[in-house]
Each structure stands twice: as structure tokens, then as C-alpha cells.
Amino acid sequence: MMELNNVLGFPILTWSIFLPTLGAIIIWLFVRGESAVRWTALAVSVLTFLLTLLLWIYFDNGTAHMQFEEFHPWITAFNVNYRLGVDGISMPFILLTSLLTVVCIVSAWDCIKTRVKEYMLAFLILETTLIGVFAALDGILFYFFWEAMLIPMFLIIGVWGGKNRVYATIKFFLYTLGGSVLMLVALLAMYFKAGHTFDLQALMAYPFNFEWQFWIWIGFFIAFAVKVPMWPLHTWLPDAHTEAPTAGSVILAGILLKMGAYGFLRFSLPICPDASQYFVPLMVVLSLIAVVYISLVAMMQSDMKRLIAYSSIAHMGFVTLGTFMFTQQALEGAIFGMISHGFVAAALFLCVGVLYDRMHTREIGAYGGVVNVMPKFAAVMMLFCMANVALPGASAFIAEIMVLAGTFSADQLYEMVISSKWVAVAAATSVVLSACYTLWMYKRVVFGDLVKPEVKAMPDMSWRELGFFAPLMVLVLWLGLYPMPVLNVIHVSVANLVEQATSTKLHAAHALAQAEMLQQTVLR
């Protein structure tokens, strides 16, 4: 039983994971009446957020070791344990989750009219699974939360979604499930290879030889690539986003996509460093496809949500690119990019939601001249569009520039078919492309003269709506102008990750193989 590093006396992670579920149960059993349900759900989510703030407050930036650790035997028969802990890489995502959940619940305040109770339950349970994913340090526990997430999300899209929701949600469900089963195989295979353990740190430490790394990497890759999503496994996302209710899209873009990239950081890089190195060209190509191809596709969308969904894929392309450059800047940029995208994409979907609540259409063509009637909204959306374009001063810029810098300088590490300088240059084209699709959409929706009668009738944003935009605006600008609070949190862990990802396991694996051979000869 190892020493648990938890500065707080109490199991804070468990609390932040299961507090939402607890709240859900309470709501389910005792709370009656829609507004009561809403308020309780809000209270619970806010409470959870405050709880997770403690993580940030008491977080020790100085160490890459896991913090707030917890350990309980769970399934002794298979050495599956309830092992929790966070480091600089996972901690920000927990905060992101708890914050966005609050935003979601507020955003759904009166645009969700049917089955409010189930809705809130689904979101709280979803929060549990998401925080669990980021806090889990045991392979199976991770998989457990990873898969459990499907159930509430499936229902959220399917019950409160748009016209074509059934197709979208089933597509989402099967895509993700199909991807992740191979991850389970990889986990189980590792379990038997690495001496019957699912402990992530043990697996990171265990020297797998290249062949093993190769297959394990593939297994994980498919699971994560579907979630991120990476071309050509991305087609579920536009459908899911288009059909999901606003808050569903927010969580989907804000957190779910991050799970995939987080998986790369947590599993692929440390566990299979050599395989990761080996697959860099593949990842680079896919990421660039995401940046260029998907941006062009996004430009041609006539459905706002679809457009933003595609732009999310493009931005995640940046993240995966940064992830597989193994430089401090690129990795930090990737992580920061995920956080920033969590806010920006979420906000953009909320913007669409605001419009949708008024006109019940997502067609860009149906709008035009919105600014005349909704100046506040126009200003807010302008801010987030510019953030989406990664203008300096917005958080996205920090991420983009760090990824690019890390990529540009990456070829000191390894030789690729083509120098990573040119990869960076190619990725930088998103500076132009993102501007094209974002501004074009903004122009068609917000600017222009007021001709359409139904647009004339739209009221400007209510205080509630401003209320849930406010934190996002503050965060986007704050992280854009002064990102150090977040960067300080991730520095050490990322440095450690870089160290893990760039050092080979092959020598150790070879030595191990030698030792085993020797042992057998001795036995014989």
C-alpha cells in the first residue's frame, strides 16, 4: 500500500465526483416541481464547482507527482482498484467540467421545457462520469467512467435533441463504443503483460517492447481518435452537435472532445513512447487534414452548429498536432488549447442556442441583421468569434501560438519526412481559414440590414443569458491576457510528460527480455 499524497485531509476527488450523483439522487427522490428541480440542480453544480476550486487552490505547482490521491481496493480478484489522483494535466479539466456544467444548467434554464427533471439528472450524472475520467488513475476505472458517459449523453441528445436526433445519437453511441472496445482489449493485454496491474503509473513505468507498444498504441488510438475526433473518424460529431440541445453541444465540445486528447496525453505518450514517436507522421498528417480540410468544409456549412462543430474539429487538430510534437511549448499549447477551446466553443454553441431559442432554426440563411435588434448579443458573439479566430488577447491565441512555436522548433528532437518547420507553416494557415469561416458566418448572421420580419421580433439577451456568458467572457480574456495561472499549473507535469514521451523504453524492454531468457535457461 503506497503512500498517498493528499494535502487535504478528506477525499476531495471522490466528493467532487459523486456530489453531482448524490444531488441527482436527491432530486430524483425528493424534489418536486420544475423550478425546485432547476434550483437544486444549480445549487449542486455550483457546490461541485466550489469544491473543485479547492483542487486549484491547494494544488502544488512544484511537483509532477499525482496529488489528492485516493486508493481503495475495488475488485480484488483482478487487482482493479479505485485509484484517484490529479496532476497538472488533468486538474484543469476537472475545473473546466464543473464550471461548464454550471453554465449548461443555467443555459437550459427555461429553454428546456419537457422533462426538466430527467434533463438535470442526466447532466449531473454526466458530470460525475466526466470528472471521473479525468481523476481516474486506474485503467479500468478510467474505462468505466469513459463508457458510463455514453448513457447520459445518449439520452441527452436523443430525448432533447432536434429533428434527426435518433440517427445522430445512435451514430454517436456506436461510434464511440466501437472505438473504445479496442481500448479495453489493450488495457487487458497490458494487464497480463505488465504483471497483473491496471495502475497507470505502473503501466507507464513498465518497459513494453516495440511490438507491444505498437498494438497497444493502435488500440488506444482508435478509441481516442474517435473521441477527439480525428479525420476520418469525425463524421459523428457534426451530426451529434447539430441535433444535440444547446447544453449538450456545450458539454460535447467543451469536455467530451477533450477526453480523447487527454487520453493521448495520459496513455499513449507515457505508456508507448516509442510507438508514439513512430506514429508521429501519421498524427501530423491527420492533424493537418483536420486543420485545412475541415476548415474548408466548415466554410461551406449553412447550419451554424454544424459550422462550429467542424471548427471544433479543426481546433482539435491543433491540439493533436501539439500533442505529438513532444516539445514543452507544443504540449502546453495543446493542453491550454483544450481548455481555451472548452470556453470558446462552448460559448459559440451558447450563442447559437440564444438565437435558436428565439427563431428555432439554425440555418444561417434564416438570419441577418441580428445586430439591429440584439446589440448586446452581437457584441458577445463578436468577442467569441474573434476568440475562435485566435486573435491576440483571447485564450485561443496563446494556445495556437504555443503549439505553432513548439511545432516549429520540434525538429531538434527527431527527423521527419519533411521538416516540422513546414508543418508549422501549414498549420499556421488556420490563421486565415478560421477567419474565413468564422467571420463569414458572423457577417451573414449578425450584420446586414433588418429585412426578415421574424428577425425583427427577436428580443435582446436577458440578464440570465448575459449571466452565463459573463464567466466565459471573463475567462477567455483573462486567460488570453494573463495565462500564467494555468500555465504554472501545467509546467512541471508537462515537463515530466515530455521527459517520458521522449525517452525510449526499448533498452529496458530488451534488458527485461534478456533477464527472462536467462531465468528460463537457469530453470532448465
Binding site: 451514430k171 468544409v297 439591429n372 505553432l404 516549429f408 518547420k421 508549422a424 477567419a435 467571420l439 500555465l487
Partner: protein
Amino acid sequence: MLNSTELLAIPALPLIASLVVGLFGWALKEKLSHTITSASVILSALLSAHVFTQVLGGASFYGNFWTWMLSDTFVVPVGMMIDQLTVIMMLTVTVVSSCVHIYTIGYMHGDPGYSRFFSYISGFTFSMLVLVMGNNFFTLFFGWEAVGLVSYLLIGFWFKRESANFAAMKAFIVNRVGDFGFLVGVLAIWYYFGSFDYRDVFAQVPALVAQGDSLHFLGWEMSAITFICLSLFVGAMGKSGQVPLHVWLPDSMEGPTPISALIHAATMVTAGVFMVARCSPMFEYSETALAAVVFVGAVTAWMCATIGLVQTDIKRVIAYSTCSQLGYMFVACGVSAYSAAIFHLMTHAYFKALLFLAAGSVIHAVMAEQDLRKMGQLRKAMPVTYITMLIAALALSGVPPFAGFWSKDLIIEAVGAREMGLVGDFAYFAVLSAVFMTAFYTFRMFFLTFHNSDRVAAKTKPHVHESPKVITIPLMILAVGALLTGAWGVMGLDIANPEIANGYFGSSLFVLDAHNPLMTLAEEGEHGWYHFVFTAPFWLAISGIGLAYAMYFRETDMPAKLAAASKPVYTFILNKWYWDELYAKTVMYPAQGLGRWLWQKGDLAMIDKGLIHGGIVGGVLAGMNRMRAMQTGYVYHYAFAMIIGVFATLTYLVLKG
């Protein structure tokens, strides 16, 4: 050492004003809005002036305020670097901006977006100041993008106009193309110098050059420094409307006139020139880059001048002349006469702003009519505008002793003096012929507006009147600038000193002695003040004016004949050399088509229909039907299946042994 709080105050004041007015504009009265913003900007102008005097006294500032980004070796501070170059920019920006603020009070009076407008222009002033005051490439880039954003917002200020919205988007996207280059350059800078800080970077340049690093791309090679300089220059081209990225600048005239004056003539568009000058320690070491700068500048100067000849929209004429003048500045940079470039930048700021504001005053008078063909004979109605506009026109045409003459003459002589082979000769030809054209179109516009026949529409006639004081006073202020800055610059500031180090700029600019055109000029010997009489530019300008006089003052039917005589050339120029059409055909439509194709064929057809539905789902369904078909419902089939199962396994085992 300068007082850092004072320095911080200079950009901070407009920022605060902008935020206050922007956030609470809906609550503020017009009066309050413009008072807050104008006051803050004027204050920062005064502060800049104060700083300017201190800098003249040899003071300077260099320091970081806080760390913006940090990731081990990737350090981006936010800091300031105040030297002669910076301070002259600060002064120009704040002064012009103040004038524009005051002017706007009258010009935008009663516009629904009044306070929004003021918030924007104050915000612009802040951004521009950040751009020039920053001490590293990212602070520069921050301002760079911020001014871009504000310009986007202001071009689309009248968002009801489709054309305005389109122009705004066009401006932003074309600028992003430039920013792409700039960003790549900055990345390369970090890669090779490990820093973004001007001082660190510039200090390491010679070492890098000596080391002879070079980049390869599919067998094509260029030296690192050239790569950096060219990338940065791409950024400059975008910002400063150089061919082929100039297309946005004329369209930006969709914005309100004060904006055209402040942003798209005086300050923002010159950011590119400023940046190149600021990076002179790098450009100096790359002949290729310098040649590229000269070439692009020359092409722009000449081409935009030709387009200016035939434009009928008063603002577009000035806009093209702006492009052309920016071309001059880049040519100057290219021939390493940075001081001349900045000098022209400064003078140009005054007289071009003046020109625009005067034009604005005219437009104001004739009820938002911008078509030269619907003006004329306004001289009587609006004398102040007339005079000031005349001053500006003379300055622009380079007639002594007006500001434009000094700077432009310096540039042309520098170009003549610098030996750059073919490019150099072309540039020299271009700038010379451009002088003539500039003079011509400027006065063409001038005569068509104020003289010629009276073509003002009948119903607007009664409204034609001189603009109110609040508009004319700024005109006068700027007129003074357009009159004096040239002489002041040469005599007072000793800007034109061949040994830059000893001149005004001191160490803020850097020129290799190997190719310092001003040096060569100096060696040619000292000239008297009357020297200009013997130079080509002067006579070109005069003849240009003369021709304009002839065509638009006397023989007013001549232009039509000429146009008819040279139809193809005329139409070609009239349509701005078909740049927009070219881009539409070669970039816009192809990109959209590609996007649609990738979406329909790639995503929907190939992946969704082909792989998912066709491949996997199809396979599953096929299997499903096969399984169903097996379940016929007939007992004997079931029994048969069982027996087959038994025999199959049995034979398998037996054969396997």
C-alpha cells in the same frame, strides 16, 4: 530614463476611455462620450509630446511590465521600448488621432452609433500605441491584430450596408493572410534567436548571418535571415496594402471618412513601414529581402498611381494615392533609406489625413455624395476646406515647400543613389513616373471638386455650406502640419542626416555603411536650397499639375476624348487592373468549390455513405438477412443444420487427426 507610469498612461488613457464609452455608451449622452474619449486622447497626445521632448534630450526607455506567456525557453513579456523611432510614431498617431476625434464630433453628429464610434477610435489609438511602443514582436503583434480588429469593426461600422460588411470582412481576411506571414516570421525568429525581444534578436543577427543557417523546402533553399525578413514583409504587405494584398484598402473606404483618415491613411496602414524600419537590423543583412521590398513597393507605387488617375469616387482616389505613397515608403526602406521612409510616413500622415478630412468635409456638404462627377464649383461655398485641401494637394504632389516635397524628394534621390541593378532601375522609373501621376490625379480631384463646371445635384444645392468649426479647426491644425512638418523634419530634427546615428534617429535605425544611399548622396556633394529646381521630380510634379489644369480646368471635354481614344487601357485601369476579379476567380470560388467538394464527396459520400453506411452497416445488414433467411421455420431445416454442424466438426477433427 523615462518615467514608466507616464509611458503607461499614454496608451492606458485611450483604452480606459474606450472601455468606458464602449460598455456604458448606451447610458451616456453624446456630449459625455466624445468629451471622455477626446480628452483622454488629447491628453495622451500631450504626454507623447512631452516624451518626445525628453527623447530629443537623449532619454529613452526599455523595460518589461509582466510576463504574458512562458513555457521554459518560450518567454513572452509585455514591455515597452521608447526611442526616437517609437516616439515619432507616438506623436504622429496621437496628434492625428486627436484631430480626428475632434473632427468626428461634428462629422458623426446624430449617428445612432455615435458613442460606439468614439469607443472604437479611442480603442484604435490604444492599439496603435501598443503596436509602436512594444519592445518585442508579440507586443507588436498584439497591437497589429488589435488595429486590424478595430479597422474591421470600423469599416463595417454602417453594418446595414452589405458592401460595408463585405469590405470589412475582406479587409480582415486579407490582413490575416499578411498576419500568417508575420506569424511564421515570428516563429522563425524564436527558433533562430530563442527570443522575441527586439534587443536580443537584433544583437544576434550578425552571428546568425555569419553562421549561414538556411532552410530547405522540397529542394528549394533560402538563408534563414532572408526567410525571416520575407515572412515579416508579407505581414507588412498585408497591413500596408502593398500589391498583391492591396485590394482591401480601397474597399475600406466604405467606412466613415474620419476612419479613412485616421486608420486607412495616416496610421494603421503605415504600421508595415514602421515594422520594416524597426527590423532594419535584420533586413539590412538580406539583399534578397531588400530587393523584394523595393520591387513590391515600386510596383505598388506605380500601379496604384495609374488606378488613381481614373477613379471617380473622391475617397477612392485618395485611397489609391495612399497605397501609392506607402509604396514610396517601402521603396525607401528597400533602398535602406529607412529614415526617409519614416520621414515620409510622418509628413504623409499629416497631409493625407488632411486630404481625407477635407474630402469628408466636402462629402458632408454635398449630402454624402462621393462621386466627383457630381461636384464642382464648391470653392465659393466652402473656402476653408478649399484652402486646406489645396495645401494638402500641393503637399501630396511634392511641391516645395510643402511637407510632401521634402520627404518624397529625399526618397527619390535615395532610390537614384542606391545601386540595386535591374530592380533599382525599375524602382527609380516607377517612383519618378508616379510623381507625375500623383500630381495629376491629385489636382484632377481638386479641380473636379472645387472648380470645373457646377455639377452638384439640384436638390443638394441648398445644403452646400462650409462645415462647422468643429470640423474646420482640425483641418487647420493638420494644414499647419502639412505645411511645416517637412521643413521641420529636415531642418529641425535633422532627420535626413546621412549618418543616421548622428541624425535624429540615432541608434533606433540601423543601416550597413555598405549600402547607405544617403551617404552616397552626401558624397555627391552639398546642394543649396534651390537645388530642387534642377531635379526631375519637381518638374514632373509641376507638369502633372499643369496637365490636370489643362484637362479639368480649361479643356474640360478633353478627358472624355482621351478615354475614348485609349479605350482598352482606360477600362483596364478603370477596373483596377481586375485584381478583385482575379482573386474571385483564382482564390475565392476555387476555395469554396473545394470546401463543398470535400464536404459532399469526402465527408458525406466517401466516409459516411461509403465507409460507414455502405461498409460497416451494410455488412451488418447483409449478415442479418443471411441469418434471418436461415431461420426458415421448417423443422427439417433446423434438424439439418444440427446434423451439418455435427458432421462438419467431426470431419474437421478426423481430418485434423
